[in-house]
Amino acid sequence: MGSAFLLLDGFKDVLTWNGLLSVFVGSAFGITIGALPGLNASMGVALLLPLTYGMAPLPAVVMLLSIYCGAIYGGSITAILLRTPGTTAAACTVFDGYEMAQNGEPGRALSMAATASFIGGIFSVIVLVFLSPPLARMALMFGPAEYFALCFFGLSIITSLSTDNMIKGLVSAVAGLLLGTVGIDIVTGVSRFTFDMPELLNGVSFIPVLIGLFAVSQVLVTYEKGTDDLGGAKQKISGVTISWKDLRDCSGTIARSSVIGTIVGILPGAGATMASFISYNEARRWSKHPELYGKGFIEGIAAPESANNAATGGAMVPLLSLGIPGSETTAVLIGAFMIQGLRPGPLLFRENPQLIYGLFAGMVLANIAFFVLGMLGSKLFAQVTKIPNRILLPVILLFASIGSFAESNSLTDVFLMYFFGVVGYFMRKFEFPVAPLVLALVLGPMAESNLRRALIISAGNWSTFATRPISAVLLLIGFLTLIMPFVRMVKDRKKAVAA
């Protein structure tokens, strides 16, 4: 129980006026950055980095961690209210969050997002404190073959996401996979589908596509519906916060998603976005009401939100115990550590445990801070849904434009965003589901590059995927998930014939 005492010491170090101030400033800034589309956690950390130059190491690092935790939570706010995910990790939250807000329950959706994020975040910090070294070693067992298997597992949920219209769902997924191949192919260096545009060399940026498909298409659909909807006030806001019953109903989902989020977060390169998608699907798989998902179901917020915040603590595991950054944000954090004269890694653990445990305590406080701010704010944020559409819609388009621009300061991305807005509009018109495309766009490139990496390592021997136990198991589950809806379809048909 040595860790527990050290953690208490850590709290002593952080619970100073300076420490608390940096936690709250960091969290508030992080939530803002996260909520604003196009600005993500790593940019938030980079933006406030200069402020920390003159600070003592502990408050400096704790402030940056608070930004990180706050930003991941903050992404859900705009996802729920405006159908514009503030960060990619909040992409899944759109599916049920926006529907709930439109059903007059924005407060309930927002407070569930804050609560689930909080529980997920705290769970992952506990894991970080007590289980870091063994889990870091586990993460190293994941090589390219295992990453491919994990991506395949993530992708296999496409069929169950599109049970309403299997073919259109699959078309949407394949389109996403094709879109994911745009850019320089990292394995061979060949540029694919780039049409001599330097902006496309790094691939289609994810945020503009996401904002276009979700937010812009929604704006177009609302305009189409006509002026009745555009003028006056909407229905009354009910359900200001979540009830204990909501929390009890979602407890299983939150627990499962927190575990998934932490594990996926630990794996370098996987990250919060993947964690939220996988846990969304798992929540649906285990739910008593899978048919309610995507229609404004509270579990559909609890799952991705607890998972993406659980990934924050997870991502710190390889960073602190191995010195390996697992994501863009943690890479920026390494830079921030170094400015303070600290190098994250096994030595830091041994030589400066006091700082490490202060940092753990700071992360606990950061989670508490964004939870408090989020719960207090949810009532206020919920008022956004009262803004008449004639004002709200132009503002959403404005946010969408700046958000797409801000990620890489590129007008090409703004064009891309509007282009995908129109595409998204037609997809909705012709009843193509959007979720498979988004999922395929996130996981497709990772699946492809890891498959090819694994084959180079094995010198072209495909059996590497079957002989490595982790990869074999994940591929098997993935395959079963993939064919499940078809099996069910055949069964249903047989039943219908028999009846």
Partner: protein, 152 residues
């Protein structure tokens, strides 16, 4: 359009053609160097476009044979959607020329007007204020280098 039964067949045909185009294009992506165990850059795009062609063909066949529900689409109020989409691209075109703030103010005002088809000064003022505020937050506080033009 309202009673056109074969929307899915038409869509399938278009997607099929798109698949062919992608497949042909993918064939060009031959790697410059060979390595043991290397899967070429062309393989995955070819696989995906092949899958797209297959699914598109399936879509047409199932639709023609009436195995799937037909999709009915109404384009009654498509006019406003078309106008807004065009406006979005005009806005995009104007950003580097007229500057972000100026084009954004005009853009949001026009959109507000289109929502109600009435000029209501209070609406316009509040939209302009919000636009200015958002611009201030992003450009000044967060230092996003939004383009300037001939006019602020």
């Amino acid at each position: 359009m309202k009673n056109f039964k074969y929307v899915n067949s038409v869509l399938g045909a278009i997607l099929f053609l798109f698949g062919i185009w992608c497949f042909v294009k993918s064939g060009e992506y031959v790697p410059l160097i060979e390595m043991e165990g290397q899967v070429g850059a062309n393989v995955f795009p070819e696989l995906f476009s092949g899958a797209l062609m297959f699914l598109a063909a399936l879509m047409v066949i199932l639709d023609v044979k009436n195995f799937t529900k037909p999709t009915f689409v109404s384009f009654e109020s498509f006019g406003i959607v078309a106008v807004i989409s065009v406006l979005c691209f005009v806005f995009w075109y104007c950003i580097p020329k007229a500057g972000f703030l100026f084009s954004a103010c005009i853009f949001t005002c026009v959109l507000t007007f289109l929502a109600t088809r009435k000029i209501r000064p209070l609406d316009l003022v509040s939209v302009v204020v919000v636009t200015g505020l958002i611009y201030f937050v992003f450009a000044t506080l967060l230092k996003v280098p939004l383009p300037h033009g001939f006019f602020i």
